[in-house]
């Protein structure tokens, strides 16, 4: 039966007996090369659904609550069986151990900037559009825009809005991480999706409250609306540095 992988640890810790993962399957531990993987047996086809994504995160969150910080694995990694997990971990041990060390004792927090209420910020305004109405010497100003032109202009407006959001988010990231410099173990650049901008930070577990307080004070002074989500298993810091 295929084996679904959730997260890795260095402790030989077994998951709680009642812990279930994707599709309600029981989570168990596989030990290899001094690493412990939390896995469960699944069917062949594990498509990403909201329920399954939640189940994956529940297992990683349980691992985070059980002891040391786990290295969370991306959704959807399936191996033919437990023995394949063991062999893959043996092959990748030299890469995985430094990553486990990087996140040891830390959790991820996500700082999220809300979508701006001004609808023009999403699509841009007519004034921001500059275009050359003369093409190849022909004055086309009297010609109505075709659907292709309108489509490209919509794309351009969207790109400009996304760039503006990321630039604004980067300003906030700089302000927050400067104010809480001693509390930030790691950070990643801002990302933007569907009007929401966010950036992850890696914080020591014992300093989560101190970080939240420092952020709240910075936001109060600067008047920035921001949500701090977490703590989470350090997904954003589990990949390449």
């Amino acid at each position: 039966m295929p084996t679904y992988l959730y997260c890795l640890r260095t402790e030989r810790a077994d998951p709680p007996a009642a812990l279930t993962g994707v599709d309600g399957t029981r989570v168990h531990a596989v030990h290899a090369s001094g690493l412990t993987a939390w896995v469960s047996d699944v069917t062949d086809n594990v498509r990403p659904t909201v329920d399954r994504v939640k189940a994956h995160d529940t297992v990683c969150a349980a691992a985070l609550n059980e002891g040391e910080t786990p290295l969370p694995v991306r959704f959807g990694q399936i191996f033919p069986d437990d023995a394949s997990v063991v062999s893959e971990l043996a092959v990748r041990e030299a890469v995985l151990r430094p990553r486990l060390a990087r996140v040891a004792g830390c959790v991820e927090l996500r700082l999220v900037l809300p979508k701006r209420s001004d609808p023009s910020s999403e699509e841009g305004t007519a004034e921001t559009i500059t275009r050359d109405t003369t093409l190849a010497g022909r004055d086309t100003s009297g010609v109505a825009d075709g659907p292709g032109t309108a489509f490209l202009e919509r794309l351009a407006r969207r790109d400009r809005a996304a760039l503006a959001r990321v630039a604004g988010c980067e300003d906030v990231r700089h302000a927050v991480c400067s104010a809480a410099k001693s509390l930030v173990v790691g950070q990643r650049p801002c990302e933007s999706a569907r009007g929401i901008s966010f950036f992850p930070v890696l914080v020591r577990r014992a300093e989560v409250d101190a970080f939240r307080s420092a952020v709240a004070e910075t936001l109060r002074v600067k008047g920035i609306p921001l949500a701090v989500l977490g703590p989470f298993a350090p997904y954003s810091f589990a990949g390449d540095a």
């Binding site: 990694q77 999220v112 949500a227 990949g239």
Partner: protein, 79 residues
């Protein structure tokens, strides 16, 4: 916290999906596309390839299910 200004339920779901689908360590999933003996492209991530319009349609359908966030609806379609 200033997070009160946000509608946190959909925000957290959106963040969860982004985090779990797009982040994390990748252990398996290495694909090398070769022609002859020459490696052209290597994909070492678990990716889902689909048409943008298909994703948008799925998102629209998902929004219709906003009242039931546990719906067993694909986050990304496989076709």
């Amino acid at each position: 916290m200033s997070g009160e200004v946000l509608d946190n339920a959909p925000l957290e779901l959106s963040d969860l999906i982004n985090r779990v689908l797009d982040k994390g360590a990748v252990i398996a999933g290495s694909v090398t596309i070769s022609v002859g003996d020459i490696d052209l492209i290597q994909l070492d991530l678990t990716v889902v390839l689909t048409a943008i319009e298909t994703v948008r349609s799925a998102e629209r359908r998902r929004r219709e299910f906003d009242g039931d966030l546990n719906a067993d609806l694909p986050v990304l379609p496989s076709d």
